[in-house]
C-alpha cells in the first residue's frame, strides 16, 4: 500500500486495521543473483538501489539479528557533506543530495531535518584550519559559511559565547544544509522500498561462512542453511573484520566502541547540530526533545556494543562547559556501537581478492550520512563490476600505493581519527 493522504484518512476511519506489513519475512530461497550480508542501513540501501537503478531484484539481504539492530539504529544521526578531501566531498555531497529527495523516493518519511551543522572554533589556528576546509567545500560546490561569534550566539544561544569561557568561541563554520535524519526510519524505509521491488529481507539469518571455489564466490553458509549466489556483498559495519575473515581476508580495519548519549526530553533549546574544535564532542537535539551527544572512542578495540564511564564523564564535562545551562538536565541513556575504523579515516567500497565478493565498510564515524550514496555506489560496483566514479578511491589497495584519503591528517592508527 502506498502511503498517501487518502490512505491515511481511510485507515484512520477504520481503526488502522488494514495497514500491511512494512516488509515481508520470506523464507530464504536456495539461490539468488546477489546476496547482501548485513541488514543495516548500507546493506538495505544497496539492495534497494540494485533493484531501482540496475533492475536486479533477485536479491536477498541476510541479517543476523533483527533488522536495524546495528549502527543504523545506534548513531547520532548527523548528516552533512562538508568533507575536505575531494574524493570524500564528492561522495558525501552525492549522499546529501540523495537524502534531500529520499522521503519522496522511498515513499517513507525519514524525517530529514536540515537545520544546519555548525563547527565551532576557539583559536586563530583553529579558525585558519576552518577557513581552509570551508574554502575547500566552496570550491567543491558545497554550501559553507563562516560565521562570527555573534552569529554563533544567534544560531545556538545555548552555547556559552562569553569571553570567560574556558575555550571562548571565536566563530564557526556552518553548513546550512547539514542536519539530522531519523535513523530507524532509514532502515525501515529502505527495507520497505526494497521489499516492494522484490528483494527478500531475511532476519535472524547469520552468515557463518563463504563458499569459495577457485577464487570465486559461490554462495554463503548461514544459520539457516547454505544459500548460493554468484555475487555477494559484505556490508556488516562493526563486524567487518570478523565476517571478512571467514572469506580469508584480513582487512586494514580496527573495531572500536563509540558511545552515544541521550538526555531526557526537554522543550527545544538547540536548533542546529553543533560540533566543537576544543573537544571531540557533538550535540544535536532530536525531534522528540532529547539532546544527543557523541564523544571520543572508548580507547580500546572491542566488538561489545557497550561503553564505559570515562567517555561519559568527558562528554558531560564538555556539555556543561560549552553549554552551562545544561547542568541540571539529566542524562537518560547511553549505549555503544562498533565503529569500523580505517588507517586513513575513509571507507572501502571495493572488490576483494575473491571474485564476485565485494566489500563495503570502514565507515569510521561517518557512515550514517553516507548511507544513500554508499548503497548507490556499492550497487553500481556489484552490478557492473566497475567502481562508481564517486567511490573509485575507496579501494583496499590505496595503502599499498599510499594514495590514501586522509580526511583529518591523523593516522595511521585507526583509533586516532
Amino acid at each position: 500500500m502506498r502511503y498517501s493522504l487518502s490512505a491515511i484518512i481511510r485507515n484512520a476511519a477504520t481503526g488502522h486495521k488494514h495497514w500491511p506489513k512494512v516488509w515481508k519475512n520470506p523464507e530464504p530461497k536456495q539461490s539468488y543473483d546477489v546476496i547482501i550480508v548485513g541488514g543495516g542501513g548500507h546493506g538495505l540501501a544497496t539492495a534497494y538501489y540494485l533493484a531501482r537503478n540496475h533492475g536486479i531484484t533477485n536479491v536477498a539481504v541476510l541479517e543476523k539479528g533483527y533488522l536495524g539492530n546495528g549502527n543504523i539504529g545506534r548513531n547520532t544521526t548527523i548528516v552533512r557533506s562538508n568533507y575536505l578531501c575531494s574524493e570524500n566531498s564528492q561522495f558525501y555531497e552525492h549522499s546529501l543530495k540523495l537524502w534531500e529527495s529520499l522521503s519522496a523516493d522511498l515513499n517513507y518519511n525519514v524525517m530529514l531535518s536540515q537545520r544546519g551543522a555548525l563547527n565551532i572554533f576557539h583559536t586563530p589556528a583553529q579558525r585558519d584550519a576552518a577557513i581552509r576546509r570551508g574554502n575547500a567545500f566552496s570550491l567543491n560546490g558545497i554550501d559553507s559559511v563562516l560565521v562570527t561569534r555573534e552569529e554563533v550566539k544567534k544560531l545556538a544561544p545555548l552555547v556559552d559565547c562569553s569571553p570567560s569561557a574556558r575555550f571562548p568561541v571565536l566563530g564557526g563554520l556552518l553548513q546550512p544544509r547539514g542536519g539530522s535524519v531519523r535513523h530507524d526510519a532509514v532502515a525501515w524505509g529502505f527495507a520497505r522500498a526494497a521489499d516492494r521491488r522484490g528483494v527478500d529481507i531475511i532476519q535472524n539469518c547469520e552468515v557463518t561462512g563463504f563458499q569459495i571455489e577457485k577464487g570465486r564466490v559461490r554462495g554463503v553458509e548461514t544459520s539457516r542453511g547454505p544459500i548460493s549466489a554468484s555475487k555477494v556483498g559484505i556490508v556488516v559495519a562493526g563486524r567487518s573484520t570478523l565476517v571478512a575473515q571467514m572469506a580469508g581476508l584480513r582487512l586494514p580495519i580496527e573495531s572500536h566502541v563509540l558511545q552515544c548519549f541521550v538526555t531526557e526530553p526537554v522543550k527545544p533549546v538547540l536548533d542546529t547540530v553543533v560540533m566543537f574544535a576544543a573537544a571531540h564532542f557533538s550535540i544535536v537535539q532530536s525531534d522528540k526533545g532529547g539532546l544527543v551527544f557523541n564523544g571520543d572512542l572508548d580507547g580500546y578495540n572491542s566488538y561489545a556494543q557497550r561503553g564505559n564511564m570515562p567517555v561519559m564523564t568527558g562528554v558531560a564535562e564538555s556539555a556543561v562547559s560549552f553549554m552551562p545551562r545544561l547542568s541540571r538536565l539529566r542524562l537518560l541513556r547511553h549505549w555503544g556501537g562498533i565503529n569500523d575504523m580505517t588507517p586513513d579515516g575513509s571507507p572501502f567500497i571495493t572488490r576483494t581478492p575473491v571474485k564476485g565478493l565485494f566489500f563495503n565498510g570502514g565507515w569510521c564515524y561517518g557512515g550514517f550520512k553516507g548511507t544513500p550514496a554508499s548503497g548507490w555506489t556499492f550497487a553500481h560496483l556489484i552490478a557492473n563490476d566497475e567502481p562508481h566514479p564517486f567511490a573509485s578511491g575507496y579501494t583496499l589497495s590505496r595503502f599499498e600505493t599510499g594514495r590514501v584519503i586522509n580526511e583529518n591528517g591523523a593516522g595511521p592508527q585507526p583509533g586516532r581519527h
Partner: protein, 995 residues
Amino acid sequence: MSGQSHRLPSGGRIDRSKTVRFSFDGRSYEGHPGDTLASGLIANGVHLTGRSFKYHRPRGITTSGSEEPNALVTTGEGGRTEPNVPATMVELHDGLVARSQNRWPSLSFDLMAVNSLLKPFFPAGFYYKTFMWPRSFWYRLYEPAIRRAAGLGTIADQPDPDVYEHSYAHCDVLVVGAGPAGLMAAQAAARAGARVVLADERAVPGGHLAGEAIEVDGRDSAAWAQGICDELDGLENVQMLLRTSVFGRYDGLTFGAVERVGDHLGNDSSGDLRQRRWTIQTRQFVCATGAIERPLVFGDNDRPGIMLAGSARHYVNQYGVLPGRKVVVATNNDDSYLTARDLARAGADVTLIDSRREKDVTGHALLPGETEVRYGQCVTQTCGKLHVSSARLADISEPDHIRSELPCDLICTSGGWNPTIHLLSHCGARPKWDSAISAFAMAKVENGVHMVGGAAGTFELQKCLQEGVAAGVAAASACSRKARKPAAPKTEKLPEYRIQPLWRLPDTISKASASFVDFQNDVTIADLELADREGFGHAEHAKRYTTLGMATDQGKLSNVNAIGVLSELRGTPIAETGTTTYRPLYTPAALGTLAGQRQGAEFRATRHSAMHQWHEKNGAVFTEAGLWLRPYYYPREGEDFAAAVKREVLNARSAVGMVDVSTLGKIELKGPDSGQFLDRLYINSFSKMKTGRARYGVMLREDGMVFDDGTVTRLADDHYFITVTTANASGVMQHMEFCHQVHWPDLDVQFCSVTEVWAAMAVAGPKARDVLSRVVDGIDLSNEAFPLQSVADARIGDAFVRVLRISFSGELAYEIYTPADCGLGVWEAIMEAGAEDGISAYGTEAMTVMRTEKGHVAGPELDGRTTADDLGLGRMMSQRKDYIGRWLSQRSGLTGAGRSQLVGLKPITNSDTFRMGAHLVTEPGTIGPDVSQGHVTTSVYSPACDHFIGLALLQDGRSRTGERVYVASPLHNEQVEAEVTGPVFVDPDGERMRG
C-alpha cells in the same frame, strides 16, 4: 493541619512535630519533614500533577519511587531549574518550588489536549507515513511544529550555581539496595570483616519495608531496618550511601552512582555541594535492587487517582497519607492483599477485584472481614475527568459486558512484580522468563555477582532475609573474609505470592477509551497491535516503532507488559518475543553531576609558563596552544595587532628580542642506547653527533608522513635532550613509549617528559650575543668558541642555565633553558641586561612572521598529510639507517608527481593581502573536485619585504616557481593574484644566524 485533607491523623514515619512549606504551580502547601513532594501533594489532596508527552492526557502520582512515569515536575528557579523530576524522589524541604510541565495555559486546562482528539490520525509510527506532501511543507511547517510540541520540561535559563564532585570507592562487597535482602547481605559481609559499600537511592533504609506495616524480628519493619542501618553505620569497614542511586554497572565490576548530598537541604547559597558522583570498584557485587510493580492494562488506566497497589500502601505506611477513601484494588496476585488490608486499616472503603479464581488466591486471610472481594473480575474501564471517579467491572470471561460500575477516588492496580535486573543487563547478562513469578529474572550470572531478594525473583520476605545472609557470607568469603553464618531474623508469616498473568483484555472494550502500556509516551495496546500488524512485533522493533520504553522511566513499568501483549498478539511464547536491553542510566543523572569538578574554568587545565606574570604585566594578548596560554603579541599604547607585531619583528631583526618558548615539549633520554633509539625515531642521525652539539630533527609516522620536528641536543655520551612541538608533546611521548616497549624493548634507554621542569626563552637578533654576554657566566659566547649548534651549561645570576645556539627566527639566536622556578628571574635578568640595546619581548605571531620569512615549517605545514620531501626536507632522510616511516615513505603515492610541495607566495600587487586557508587555483570562478591545487598554510605581512608573503602547499609546487596563481577565499569572496616563489624570503644563505 490546615489543608492536609488526606493526611491520616496518626501513623507514618514522618516528623509531625515540624511543618515545611512548599509550593506547586504557585499555590502554597504544607507538609512534614520525611515527606516527598508526592506524599506532600497527596496529603493536600492534589492528584493532578502532569500531562503526558503526546496526547497531553491528565496524569497523577502513579508510584512511590524512581520509576515514576507520570508525576514529573520542574523544581527550582533560575539556575536551579530542574526539569522532569519525579515528584516521588523529591524530599520536601522548606521553600521547595515545583511546577507542572508540558501544558498550556494551565495544568487543569491544557489546550494541547486537542492532540488527544486527533488520536485516530496519530497512531504509532504516523510520522513515517505522513507529512510528505507537499515536500516543502515538511521543513517549513510540519517539522517545526513537531519540534515545538516535543519535550517535557524546560531547562534552566542560567548557569547552575551549585557545585559537584567526584569520589571513588574501592571495596570487597558492594551491596546495591538497602531492603531486607541487601541489609542482611551487608551485615553478614561486614561482620565477617569485608569492606562493604551499601547504596540505596532512597533517603531511608529498608527498601519496601520502609513502606510496610509488618513485623521483622518482633519489631516494626521500618524500625528494624533503621536498627540494622545504625549498626552498619557505626562500623569502620562499612560505607553507607543513602540517597545514592547506582545508575550503571560497567566492565570489570565498576559501578557509577550519584549521591544527592544537598538537594534535600534546600540550601540556596551558591557554591554548596549538591551532588557527588561515585565510581565504585568492587570485587563482589550483591544485587539487592528489589522489584518494581507493573500496572494492569485496561481502558483509561492512566487517570489521576490510579496508582500501583504497592505504592498506595507505601503512602499510607511511610508517609501517613491516604491517597483515596473509596478504593478499588485491581490485581492478579496476592501482594495486593496487603494493600487492601493497610488501606482498610487506615479507614478507606476498599473493594478488591481479583482476576483469578478464589481457589488460586492465598491472600484473603489478610483481609479484615468487611472487605469486599470479587474474584474472576477485572476493571475494564474507568471514568472521570481530571481524577478517576469510577471503575467499570466485568467478568474476566466476558470482559466486554460491563457488570457494574463502582464509584471510587483511587484505583490501586497490580499486574505483578518484575525483579529489578537492570544493572546486570548492560554487560550482557540475558534475562530469562520465569513462569512461576510471571516475570523476567537473571537465570545465570557471572562469578562475583549475587542476586538476592526481589531482584532474584524471591517475593517471600523470610526467604529474602535468608538469601541476603547467604550472599553476604559468600561474598565475604570470596574475598577471603571468613564468617560464621548468622541466622536470619524471623518475620511475620505472610501469604505466599502467587500470580496469574493478565496482559490485556480482549480488544472488544469500548473504542473510545485507550489502554495505556507506556504512560509517559502514550503508547497503547492499539499501538502495539498496529506495530505487530506492520511487522514490528519483535520487542526491539516495537520499542523503536512506538517509542515504548523510551520515556524517562525507561520502560520500568511498561516493558514487560508490552512483551506480554506482543507475545499474545503474535501467538509466540514470551521467551521468543525477545526483550530489550536495559541500559544505564538506571535513574537519569544530571550532566553537572556526571561532569563533577571538571567544568567551566576547570574543564581543562590552563597552563601558564613560569614567566606568565611578566607577560600579563606587560600587556600581552594571549592565545592558546596545547592548553598553554602563550603571549600572542604585546600591544603598546595606540597599537593594533598589525602595528605591534611589526614593531616586535623589526626590533628583533634590527636589535634584539626575546620570546617565551617554555611550552615546547621536552624529553630527556639517558642510557647507552639513547643515540641509537633516536636514530630509529628521526629521519636524520644523532648517534654520531658530538657531545655539546644540537641539531634540528624530523620524525615520521609509520605511514611515512611527517609527525613532528624539533631539536636534539647531546649532553653526554649517553644523555640527550629533545624538544618537540607544543601541540604534539604528549603524542610524541606516547609514540616513544610505544616504540620502546613494543618494537625495541632490547634498547637500554630511559626517557621522561620534562616539559614542566624547564622554562625556556629564545633571545634573537644581532645584539643577542652582546646582551647575553653581560649576564651569562661560564661560557665564552664568541662565534669561534660557541658557534651555531653549540650547547653548554652556565649560570645567570644564581640560576643554572643551559644555552643552545639555535635559530628559528633566522637571526643570531640562543635558547636559554633554566629550571622553571628560575624562569621569571632569568627572563627579567636578560630583559634588564638588554635594556640598553632596546630588547623587547615578542609573541608567537612575531615568531610566525620571522619563521615564515625564513621558510621554516611549523604546525600548519605539518598537518599530518605532508612528507619530509613535500616540505623540502627530503635531503635529511638518511639512506644509511632504518627509521620509523622510512619504508612506507617510499610508496609511489608519497613520492610521485602530483604531491603538494612547500612553496612561497608573494602578491603580484604589493598591497594585496591573502589569508591562511585560502586556496590556490588557476581558473578563477570554477567549481569542482580538481579546482583547488593547494592552499595557503601560513600568511603574514613581512616587514622585511614590506608586503604579504605566504607559505603554501601546491601541487608539484617546486617546479612551478615564477608561475602566477590565484589565491582564492570564496568564503570571503576574495581573490588575488600571486607569484609562486621559493619558501625563503630573508637571508637565504643563513648568514645572519651564523654571524
